[in-house]
């Protein structure tokens, strides 16, 4: 395959097509993923290409998550699509009390290779039950891995890794990323290992850490701050769990200040964990400040105008970076 312009949506489709083609023991479950092609158009014609293994479920998130766990315990590799991340709450028992425990609690006898793909995030006026970035809620759960790629290339490379893994993986997509386009050569893309962040921009003044759509906002902010003479290092985590602690610590050791950017809410966020790790490990190198940026601690309103005030944007990130550098 030569280099082609590909969307994030199509990259995920392509990775799914590849893993479904490579093994008869891989299945894909979710609501409206056959004729409809998936709520965000990701699955497209996969069901005609892999007829018996692309299975449209009833609206029973808790139930089909459990079905996925049962299949994974009996030899299948399962990809589940949760139509909106918010709906995952209906499946939290099967995730938190079952899937993530399988390998450990059964003493290594069984594994649970399930990938939960789900579109997260807002900026679209969908309101409180359809807009949350909730990876923070599952961030602490032992036994789970989490990926949240921000580029087309990483979407493909991360999904290959996630499906190949023998553990439950939460795979966070973002509604606004689906139409993102990049020129890529799929044949050349390597699986992205867990726990390896990507340094988007090297810099020496301040470390900015983000993931998913937030990485794009952060990138805009960082680019614009070049004009103010701020030389930021931008890290796109890609893999949230395991977290690439080394890369973060190394960067903060160099820059002396940290801005964490995420779309989920600030309190109890991924940024809290990163801040805590940095505070524990490189307190002595901090000459600037640590600032977390994220959603204001409110539900997400349907009103696009109000939502825009509550979710982070380029400008809030820029302000946070200046604050971290005490340039206010």
């Amino acid at each position: 395959m030569p280099t082609q312009n590909l969307t994030y949506r199509k990259a995920i489709y392509s990775a799914l097509d590849k893993v479904l083609s490579e093994s008869e023991k891989t299945v894909f479950l979710g609501e409206d993923i056959t004729e409809y092609g998936g709520a965000f158009g990701v699955s497209a014609d996969l069901h005609t290409r892999h007829p018996s293994r692309v299975i449209a479920t009833p609206i029973s998130e808790g139930g089909f998550m459990g079905v996925a766990v049962g299949m994974a315990m009996t030899g299948y590799r399962v990809v589940v699509e949760m139509m909106f991340m918010d709906f995952m709450t209906l499946a939290f028992d099967q995730i938190v009390n079952h899937a993530v425990n399988v390998h450990y609690m059964y003493g290594g006898q069984l594994t649970c290779p399930v990938v939960i793909r789900t579109p997260a995030g807002g900026y679209r006026g969908y309101g409180p039950s359809h807009s949350k970035a909730m990876e923070n809620m599952l961030f602490g759960v032992p036994g789970l891995k989490i990926m949240a790629p921000s580029t087309v290339q990483d979407a493909y490379g991360c999904l290959l890794t996630a499906v190949a893994d023998n553990n439950p993986v939460l795979f966070v997509e973002h509604k606004l990323l689906y139409s993102l386009e990049e020129a890529v050569d799929l044949a050349e893309i390597q699986p992205v290992p867990f726990g390896k962040a990507r340094i988007v921009r090297q810099g020496s003044d301040v470390t900015v850490v983000s993931h998913s759509y937030g990485a794009h906002l952060a990138q805009q902010a960082v680019m614009e701050l070049e004009d103010e003479g701020i030389d930021a290092e931008l890290i796109d985590l890609r893999s949230l769990k395991p977290l690439d602690i080394e890369t973060i610590v190394e960067s903060v050791t160099k820059t002396g200040s940290l801005v964490c950017v995420e779309e989920g809410n600030v309190t109890g966020g991924i940024g809290s964990e990163i801040t805590a790790i940095v505070a524990e490990r490189c307190l002595e190198y901090l000459d600037g400040r640590i600032i977390r940026v994220g959603r204001g601690d409110t539900p997400i309103p349907a009103s696009l105008a109000s939502e825009g005030l509550i979710l982070p944007d380029k400008d809030t990130i820029k302000a946070a970076i200046r604050k971290a550098l005490r340039r206010l």
Binding site: D32, E35, I59, G127, P128, S129, A302, S303, A305
Partner: protein, 324 residues
């Protein structure tokens, strides 16, 4: 007969409201998404006709009809959908999270099946308070596959709660034909698992819906416990704003459209109203909706306060953390 006229007027109001929403979306003038109930109006107005103002109503994502049948002001609905502070929920709920407390309307609901236990809880409130009212719950065929459906109907029947469950079986949940995700084709068959009475009604015929709902509501008000009403109906449009309807045929659509709830009511009114009277009612409804929209457009846009205020009730000291 005046009853049929009321049903007809409400049906028109819903139809034109939805058509306006459809138009606004097609022009990119609304954010988020929407689920139109065009084709299903008879269920909303028919059930409402069996209710008293005291009764609680819980709805789902496809709730504009339920709201308007209940007496919601279209201007404030438009305001809500436009995200304006003068909307019923300050623009925060939008189409899928829209309650109107003074109408005892406990919300449309963005989570499929999410409203079913809530309506059941309202039923338990009524029972404990010894009130006369009932609680009504609208949901779709798709929602009947959620665990909440089972848990709720079981509790309601075990506790004999005054709840009328109304399933609008419009054949599909998004693209999923009910018969593909259920061995039986009637949702009402599930009521028997709870020893709950049920009825199936032609959901295109507002009068029949009204009669069936009233029959069950009377039973419920008399203290005989919950009941399930299944209305066989059809949504004309796609599931939400982006749906090519590849999963169904235009023949099927045409067949249902022949039994259009508006046309059916007009037929039922034909002895009573002349064609020009009908025409007057229609154009009056159109302009009522148009006026409502225009007045909503004039309402103010949200400010910072509208976004951040009131995460917690009655707790002056709380200051939301985050961007601000």
């Amino acid at each position: 007969m005046s009853d049929i006229l009321t049903l007809y007027k409400k049906t028109l109001k819903i139809r034109y409201f939805e058509e306006k929403i459809d138009w606004l979306f097609s022009r990119g003038r609304l954010g988020g998404t929407t689920h139109l109930c065009i084709g299903q109006e008879a269920v909303a107005v028919g059930v409402d006709n069996a209710l008293s103002p005291d009764d609680y109503v819980v709805s789902n994502h496809r709730g504009h009809g339920h709201l308007i049948a209940r007496g919601a002001d279209p201007a404030r609905l438009f305001a809500e959908l436009l995200g304006k502070p003068e909307g019923y929920c300050r623009g925060r709920g939008g189409t899928q999270h829209l309650s109107i407390a003074h109408l005892n309307f406990l919300g449309t609901n963005g989570i499929t099946g999410g409203g079913i236990p809530i309506a059941t809880g309202a039923g338990l409130s009524i029972k404990l308070s010894g009130e006369e009212r009932i609680s009504v719950c609208f949901f779709g065929d798709g929602a009947s596959n959620q665990g909440t459906f089972h848990e709720s109907l079981n509790m309601a029947s075990a506790w004999s709660l005054p709840v009328l469950y109304v399933c609008e079986n419009n054949v599909y949940a998004m693209s999923t034909r009910f018969s593909k995700v259920s061995r039986l084709t009637d949702v009402s068959a599930r009521a028997s698992a709870y020893g709950m009475p049920s009825a199936v009604v032609d959901g295109m015929d507002a009068v029949k819906v009204s009669d069936a709902a009233r029959m069950l509501a009377v039973r419920i008000r008399a203290g005989h416990g919950p009941a399930l009403l299944e209305a066989k109906t059809y949504r004309y449009c796609g599931h939400s704003k982006s749906d090519a309807r590849a999963y169904r045929s235009s023949d099927e659509e045409a067949l249902w459209r022949m039994r259009d709830p508006v046309l059916l009511l007009e037929k039922q009114l034909s002895g009573l109203l002349s064609a020009s009277e009908i025409e007057t009612l229609r154009s009056r409804a159109v302009s009522e909706i148009e006026d409502a929209y225009q007045s909503a457009m004039l309402m103010r846009e949200p400010g910072v306060h509208d976004a951040f205020e009131g995460v917690y009730a009655d707790t002056e000291s709380y200051v939301p953390q985050g961007n601000l």
